[in-house]
């Protein structure tokens, strides 16, 4: 599969102006770059949840596993453990990965399993027509909270830091060059990489103006310092008026998850092992 078209022929049904286009475009550019650097596209696997974000599985002409709402991470973990040579990328939604399946996200970070999570954080349930998610600002009037929510949002970056993630970054769909460099870095990071992508939802949560006024590019902090990272991650609380830092927040090297420390097969054959076990039971 040399010189291939990464984008499939499936008709795209994202709304006009949707930030998912920017993510798709960015991914494509990174994939092309990686291909140039010798990564065979057949070794890429996209794992998606269910939601608008997840349609990216259909839109890329790449291996994909279109899973369930909230379940990208365990599927991706299974795939990665099955074959360490695959590059596994989760495209997850904010409802998806932070509500329905938050448990899995935290455990993937804890294990430092070698894969990348792109969180399409549009701060709303898009596909189910606009209910609040864990990152929706307090007061959000969605269809399940027409009188306005009364909950503060979760800060996914802080959660990921507290969970042991070794690569934590924030992107924004209207800052594509930065997003591209973050995705590239995440894909080449050895270990668990998480990018919270602030994604514009044109239909239910168009925060473009809000973001444009506040985003700035992070520069010069020590990306190896957990304390600095925690502080930077907390600068913006996902609802009130403060600058929103974009870029790499934290990165460190750590041992990659292997279910057991054993590395080699000790038994010449399964049959020998079975015989040994049976023998010990007489």
């Amino acid at each position: 599969m040399t010189s291939r078209d990464f984008i499939s022929e499936v008709q795209n049904t994202w709304c006009p102006g949707c930030g998912n286009f920017a993510i798709q475009h960015t991914m494509k550019k990174v994939f092309m770059e990686l291909e140039g650097e010798g990564v065979v596209p057949e070794s890429l696997v996209l794992v998606t949840g269910i939601g608008c974000h997840a349609k990216i599985a259909d839109y890329f002409n790449l291996n994909s596993f279109y899973t369930l709402h909230g379940r990208t991470l365990p599927v991706a973990t299974g795939i990665k453990l099955a074959n360490r040579d695959l590059t596994v990328i989760c495209h997850a939604g904010d409802g998806d990965a932070l509500a329905e399946g938050l448990d899995h996200l935290i455990f993937a970070a804890k294990r430092n399993i070698d894969l990348t999570v792109i969180l399409h954080d549009n701060r709303v349930y898009g596909l189910t027509t606009g209910q609040y998610t864990p990152t929706s600002p307090i007061g959000f009037k969605g269809r399940s909270t027409p009188h306005g929510t009364t909950e503060f949002p979760l800060n996914p970056l802080r959660l990921m830091l507290a969970s042991g993630a070794t690569f934590v970054a924030r992107g924004y769909t209207r800052r594509m060059p930065l997003l591209k460099s973050l995705v590239k870095a995440a894909l080449t990071h050895r270990g668990f990489a998480f990018i919270d992508v602030l994604q514009v939802c044109a239909s239910y949560a168009n925060l473009t103006d809000y973001y444009e006024k506040r985003v700035y590019e992070l520069k010069g902090h020590d990306t190896g310092s957990y304390e600095d990272a925690t502080m930077i991650a907390g600068e913006w609380d996902y609802y009130s008026d403060s600058p929103i830092g974009l870029g790499l927040i934290y990165q460190k090297e750590g041992p990659i998850y292997e279910p057991t420390p054993e590395k080699e097969v000790l038994w010449g054959s399964r049959k020998d092992l079975v015989m040994h076990v049976l023998d010990s039971r007489t």
Partner: protein, 549 residues
Amino acid sequence: MDDLSVLVGGRAGDGINIAGMMIAWLMNASGYRPHMYYDYPSLIKGGHNFAIVRGTPGQPRAIRTRVDILLALNQDTIEKHRDRIHESTAVLFNADRAKGPGEGIPVSDILKRHDAQAVMENSCLVGAFAKSAGMPTNLVSSVFKRHIPRYVEKNLDVALDGYDSVRTSHNLAPSLSRPLPVVSGNEAAGLGFLCSGLDAYVAYPMTPSSSLLHFLAEHGPPAGVTVVHPENEIAVMLMAAGFAYAGRKVAVGTSGGGFCLMTEGLSLAGMAELPVVIVMSQRTGPSTGLPTYSAQSDLHFVLHAGHGEFPRFICAPGDATETMSWSKTALEIAWRYQVPSFVLMDKHLSEGFFSIDTERVGGVAVRGPETGVASPLRRYIDSPSGVSPLAFPPAAGHVIKVNSYAHDESGITTEDPVIVELMTQKRLRKEASLEAEVQRLPAVVTGGNPGGTTAVLCFGSTAGVSEEAAERLRYRVVRPVVLEPFPAKAFHDALSGVERTICVEENVKGQLSLLLRRHGLMTDHEVRRSDGRPFEVEYLIKRLEEVPL
């Protein structure tokens, strides 16, 4: 005598299961096939635990109510099991914690004599058992040396003093059977998986499935099996889906509550056509229920779990040997038809011990899935059998897409009613192919008196007790091992000449009975038990005899 039942009882933490196993191994070494039932509440220390070990020259697969030797580490054991004691029962007890009637053993004196710890009490009783059963001391030493991991000598000294402190009460008839391996049902499943090329096992601990996780966690990794204990059962099932997508043979194990959490992933496996084996070991429900007791009350849940309709394979083996065969078969079928495939077990089978005759272990030959790639690969390409060729990433020149949505042959989401219907029909055709496969399997087992006009119907772990009771009553036993797709023809054939049916089940609603109705058989009578305890042979005979003619 050639049918010996031994009960050993004490508190949780007294090592009752170890004592039971030692007795089983002693029987095994004497040429008697052992079967052990272990009864314990869900707690770590305290409470009443007991094991019943029964040995006969042929394999026993059920326990009797009456015991021949009762080993009591405490008074409770004698009180709680009075009804098991008959005139020739030898009651041997720890004289420090119980008083007769029977033969008291000065356990604390013996321990003190050898400067041994309290945990060795059970060795003392095991030694006493050996003497009571008329076994020679050299047998005791060889079995202890083989099976006690630590402080063998001290344990043996204690055992031999126990041996010396009682009389011989039973003389086992000599038996020449060669000792066979003794394993639990769960271990048998693990062995079956190892034989059939399992690559990965994923599970979250839950009684009575946990010991399969423990077994594979210990023996799997050195053999190249990846074993993962993740955050919860949702993750278990979805990780398994990931393994299957990437081409690795995977199984999961759980019990009712954990299985509930897997049902969404199960439906995904059905839709995405991913081969996953599920070992589902039932316990008494509903809800947390009785975690350490048995039931057969999840049959219909397993038959219908997951939303929507998709083919699945369900087998329910009856003992360890069958479990080893059928777990092989289940894995093979999962891959041949790209379906979820169940080994339905229960506490009695999972945690019961049986000797296993590896020469009798069958299971379908490994033929593997249809592989090979169409160009460009369409993961769900239609075919006469409904089964599509498999390929796994990375596959040069191909993209491999699986999808939980309704999808076309390439795995792309669709809402087109024509394509949806096409793929639904493909899955239905796969089910038909699977049905044909089941006809080639020994999916229905007949036992007892093959000419009996009364048939006992049962499934799973009640196989052994049903057969033993039926033999006594000259009844036939007809038992489906495969429950889905149901082997209706073979089942009706096996019933030919039968005039009266009695369905034996460990549940309250008669779940097998309900399933049989669907296939045109109205059972005549029902014998049920639902307190989590096994049918003992005498008890089942009595219940069968009570059934009106």
